[in-house]
């Protein structure tokens, strides 16, 4: 069924459009009562989509009321379309070529050209019928695109057109957004979704029924797409070669990876290139769309006519002459390509020899553009828009204007990367006397060279520069030959896309490439750890622990007399500062400012040399990680500090204490002995007790001193241990909370950079 209903007006309709316009209008007027159920009589008579929507409306109504499955709607649609299709007396080959027009809508789901087409008043007879099923056609897409959103989207589209011509243009813009949506821009997608919903509801009254219809219809319609391939003149979609495909994939990945980091404006160009590449890919690979661009009065239309062999495009002395682009296709099946350019059917032409009369240029679609330099601004807009969509460009210059700044600065220099899909022809050489033509041509070559455009001389790839006269026909043959070869190669579209990717990648260079190697160096990590250790006071804690240990050792091994004296001293002294500082739970033991500074420094180090957006995201990662870091460190210091209570004692400690005690005992024994002799209890023997006492008196400090010497090592070890524990705990906490997120961010950047290198093709450092 789709074979008929899906058919759309095509080239053959263009040729006969004038004669059938009235016919169509009649059809329209006769049809509008038929559309009655939906209650939308065509207000302005020309938006054909209206009928598409209406019929779909009817279909949905039928479906809803009868409660049957999609086949019911299907019948409705085909019934509505049937007579029209018959009346359009479309023979099967034409039907096949008509298919091409519908084709893109099937697989690609980009109803972009619909907008302009809707505004176009004059249509072929196939138009109404084709459009009748536009709604259904749109549903058919679902199975191919397998994206549910598109269904709604297309419904919306069809529905929206009802609101009139002005809206139709806007719809196309809406489509652009929708296309972007596929790339996953979250905000816009929502936005669109909302609109879709409201629109759908507004028009259908019940989005559910509509959806059900579309799904079922789609299910019905999907298999019918297959037979198209078997038709005469099948349109094989464009195929990109491996490297280009992988570059496009890489670019898509790149855009996806960096969407959260870069603003959408930066990525817009890359997104556009991807969209266009995808859109072009779905269209015919047999055809090469070549635009003729140039300044006003350079003879674009003349050249266009000369190539087509018939006066298609109006020429004249009135400047600017051509106001809207005109397309001319040398073979069938290019309708969808021309649709994409937004050129209405009344501006589509065939060359004089007929579609297949000129085998040399078979597959060529020539587009005559308005000028780019006249005071009429909308001309420039046309040119800029279409230049972004065509496969190749013929720049027409003339001896008077070949050095215009507008041409070189606005167009040729930015498009220097597209040299391979560029022809530059010097028109009007008949106005130049003698060798002046060669001089001018050489000068033109020089200027192009200065613009950075590679010239296709000596068999190297690059722009083709020719001198010709469209008026006398001089050099047209050469151009024809060059074009013929160019078109036969069928590589222009891919080359153009490749050049687009190049340009987009080059433009993205500042946000991806770095002048030097970026990353978190080992020193930076160590410095961060050191700063955190400072913040928790690891050094001071270690020193304090060491001294405390030493002090304890001294006290333990010191002579009792010394301890007595110290105790006395302490009692007499005011107890300043020695009051043990009680650890309050809310205490901020960690120096906040040091943590903050450490994070800032490490973020600066890590982001040094990164492109601004990535540097920003690295900094943000660091700051995010640093939230709560001081509190964590507080807690950590409390836990990782030395266990409370007495520090551990070395093995020799009891021996030392024993020695000290024995020294004291010696003193006491010696003293008692002496006292005993003095009071006469014991026999007088001065030597031994004095010796004992002296040994005790000397030995006590000796033991104390040697203990102190011996305690130094363990004390230091103890202090270092305390410091190390704090330090490691702080570093570990810092690593987990700050360094790891930063490293992850850097890794993400590196990934993106690799993608970027893939986009750039070979080697980007």
């Amino acid at each position: 069924m789709t074979a008929v209903t899906d058919q759309d007006r095509t080239e053959h309709t263009d040729q006969t459009e004038d004669t059938v316009t009235t016919d169509r209008e009649m059809t329209e007027s006769s049809r509008s009562p038929g559309a009655g159920p939906a209650g939308h009589a065509p207000e302005n008579g020309n938006p054909p989509e209206q009928r598409g929507a209406e019929v779909a409306d009817v279909a949905s109504g039928t479906n809803g009321t009868s409660g049957t499955s999609g086949s019911g709607a299907d019948v409705e649609v085909s019934g509505a379309a049937g007579p029209g299709a018959l009346s359009s007396q479309a023979p099967s080959p034409e039907g096949a070529s008509a298919d091409d027009d519908g084709g893109p809508h099937g697989p690609n789901g980009l109803p972009g050209p619909d907008g302009p087409r809707a505004t176009d008043g004059s249509r072929g007879p196939g138009g109404p019928e084709g459009r009748t099923t536009r709604g259904a056609n749109a549903h058919a897409r679902v199975e191919h695109g397998d994206r549910h959103a598109r269904v709604e989207h297309d419904d919306r589209h069809a529905a929206r057109v009802k609101e009139g011509d002005g809206r139709a243009v806007r719809t196309e813009e809406g489509d652009r957004h929708a296309r972007v949506k596929d790339d996953g821009r979250p905000v816009r997608a929502e936005d669109d979704g909302d609109r879709e919903r409201t629109d759908t509801e507004g028009i259908w009254d019940d989005g559910l029924i509509a959806r059900r219809v579309t799904e079922s219809t789609a299910a019905e319609l999907s298999p019918v797409v297959e037979p198209r391939v078997s038709r005469p003149l099948p349109v094989t979609p464009l195929a990109y070669d491996g490297p280009l495909r992988s570059r496009l994939d890489a670019l898509r990945e790149l855009v996806g990876l960096s969407r959260t980091r870069l603003d959408s404006r930066t990525l817009a160009e890359a997104g556009r290139v991807l969209d266009e590449a995808a859109a072009r890919r779905r269209l015919s690979g047999q055809h090469t769309v070549v635009a003729i661009a140039g300044a006003t009065g350079s003879g674009k239309s003349q050249l266009f006519n000369a190539l087509a062999g018939v006066a298609i495009s109006e020429t004249g002395v009135r400047r600017p002459t051509t106001a809207a682009p005109i397309a001319c296709s040398w073979s069938d099946g290019a309708a969808s390509l021309i649709d994409r350019l937004g050129i209405p059917g009344r501006l589509r032409r065939r060359p004089v020899q007929g579609p297949d009369g000129d085998p040399q240029l078979r597959g060529l679609v020539l587009v005559d553009l308005p000028d780019h330099d006249s005071a009429a601004v909308q001309h420039r807009e046309h040119v800029d828009r279409i230049l972004g969509l065509v496969d190749a460009v013929i720049w027409v210059v003339d001896p008077e204007k070949y050095a215009d700044a507008v041409l070189h600065e606005r167009y040729l220099r930015p498009l220097a990367g597209h040299a391979e899909v560029m022809f530059v022809v010097l028109n009007q050489v008949d106005r130049l006397p003698g060798e002046a033509a060669d001089q001018v041509l050489d000068d033109l070559r020089r200027l192009l060279d200065e613009d950075g455009i590679a010239l296709g001389e000596h068999g190297e790839p690059g722009a083709t520069v020719l001198a010709l006269s469209a008026l006398t026909g001089d050099g047209i043959g050469e151009l024809r030959e060059a074009l013929g070869q160019f078109v036969t190669e069928r590589g222009a579209a891919a080359r153009r896309i490749a050049a687009d990717v190049d340009a987009a990648a080059l433009r993205l260079r500042p946000v991806y490439a770095t002048p030097r190697r970026a990353g978190l160096s080992e020193e930076a990590r160590e410095e961060f750890a050191a700063r955190l250790a400072d913040a928790v006071g690891a050094t001071a804690a270690g020193e304090a622990a060491e001294r405390a240990w030493l002090r304890n050792a001294g006290r333990a091994c010191g002579t009792p007399w010394l301890r007595l004296w110290r105790w006395y001293q302490d009692r007499s002294e005011p107890p300043t500062g020695r009051l043990p500082v009680r650890a309050q739970p809310d205490e901020e033991a960690t120096a906040r400012q040091r943590v903050e500074q450490a994070v800032r420094t490490v973020a600066d180090r890590a982001s040094a040399g990164l492109p601004a957006p990535w540097a920003q995201s690295v900094r943000e990662a660091a700051v995010r990680g640093a939230q709560g870091l001081p509190e964590a460190l507080d807690e950590l210091t409390a836990r990782a500090g030395l266990p409370p209570g007495r520090p551990p004692r070395p093995g020799w400690w009891p021996a030392a204490v024993l020695a000290q005690a024995s020294m004291t005992i010696l003193q006491v024994v010696g003293g008692l002995w002496l006292v005993g002799q003095i009071i006469g209890v014991m026999s007088p023997n001065l030597g031994v007790p004095v010796l004992l006492m002296v040994a005790g008196i000397i030995g006590g400090p000796l033991v104390e001193w040697s203990c102190r010497i011996a305690a130094r090592g363990p004390a230091r070890r103890y202090g270092q241990e305390a410091e190390r524990r704090l330090r490691e705990a702080a570093a570990g906490c810092g690593r987990a909370r700050v360094l790891d997120p930063v490293a992850a961010e850097l890794l993400r950047y590196r990934e993106v950079r690799e993608q970027y290198a893939r986009v750039m093709g070979a080697g980007v450092r």
Partner: protein
Amino acid sequence: MVTLDVRPQLLEALSALRDRVAAARFPLPLAGAPRARANRDELLAQLDDYLVPRLREPQAPLLAVVGGSTGAGKSTLVNSLVGRRVTEAGVLRPTTRNPVLVCHPEDHHWFSGVRVLPDLPRVWAPQSDPGAGDDLLSPEDDPARVLRLETVETVPRGLALLDAPDIDSLVADNRALAAELICAADIWVMVTTAARYADAVPWHLLRTAKEYDAMLVTVLDRVPHQVVSEVSRQYGALLTKAGLGEVPRFTVPELPESAWGGGLLPATAVAPLRTWLVHQVQDSAARQHAMARTAHGVLDSLKSRMPELAGATAAQYAAALRLTSAVDSAYDTEHARVRARLQGGAVLAGDALKRWRAFPLDCTAAELLDALVESLGALLLCSVTAADERVDDAWRREPAAGAPGLAARDATYENAEHRIGMAVRRWRRELEEYAEDEVGRLDRSVAPDPEVVAALAATGLLGGRRARSAGEGLAERIGAHGALRLRDRAGRLLADYLDRVMHTERERRLAPLDALEVNPEPQAELIAALSVLLKER
């Protein structure tokens, strides 16, 4: 009939205005800055090259500048008007690289000096040697811009023709020069062709001429004879639509000579234009009219152009103010924050806190003081860098912050650390001196160690609530009264140093911006100069 009434006051006001315009600067890269700069230069050129000399010497010859797009045949037209090859014409674009001024030999003195176009050095080729003329026609290897003077008898006295470079040349310098030359003209001769008459660039120039109300004449050159009437009608219609319907319009057909050979057109082809020009010069009323119209046009245009310039300077000042206030608010915020943190005892944390806990037993007073001072330095440095970060954030959103030199502060980072270190060490020294003072006042037998006193005072001051015991200890050592006094003095000193550090860093941050000297005065001065001029007219 407008006449030119020149009084010395007017000239004075004009030269004052000129100086003001010359003094206007637009250093911040705002959106409108390049345009303002171009406007300033253009206005300055017009004042220097045209208005001031014209008002000074109304009797000087009229200067007709032939301008137009590349390939419009300007040089051929000048040659044909003169009747001799005085300027190069050719097929290669851009042809005219150096402007050529053609005048009667007796008018030569008017142009040989720096009366008009003072920036362009003159080259004068005397007429006597026609052979030398050919050499001069190709000054390819002459990089410097010169104005070539040619004297030809056939030019009527009181008229000078200037062949300007292309207004849409690929060489940007040529475009600027062309604009400057056209601004110096009494009579603007706009040349366009049949192929070009709808181009955007010449129309821009035509509209400018209309804006300045200059004496304008357009020449439609190179019209193939079969389409003369149609093209001419189209062009006329376009002109009328643009409000330039009354502009004298001349049509020169495309002749074999006109082309690319650099030949001379027959005199008949350019006769109407020549007659018109001669009439402008020789009829005194017409001459007065032409002169006065252009001069008044420029004077009138000042009414809108000066406010525009003043607006641009105001925008510059506003942007500078925004930048400054971003810095101020960032530093103010950080200042408040650091004060709050000092009060909260943030300095007594980390190392310092550990030292303080260990204080008299396992830590000396000097060590405690060291740790405190270091911690204080870290706090100040942190707040300064935080302020800088805030400033960076705020400036990132300001286009004006892209001015060269504003962002270059990476080198000063270490210096900030150094400066802050110096400041806190100085504070410590002064604190120690105060402590010694206080200890010296005591009449106790055993005076406490001044260092311990200093350390306790610093701890009490910086430790906030957490260091209450330090205050008690201090009071015990030097008495409650002394402790209070010491604390007060040290506190004042600390606040002082804090203010000083923040102020220094803020000033350093603002220094490059201040160096750009974006002031509010130029705006007022420009407007004032304009109003004086308008009063004197």
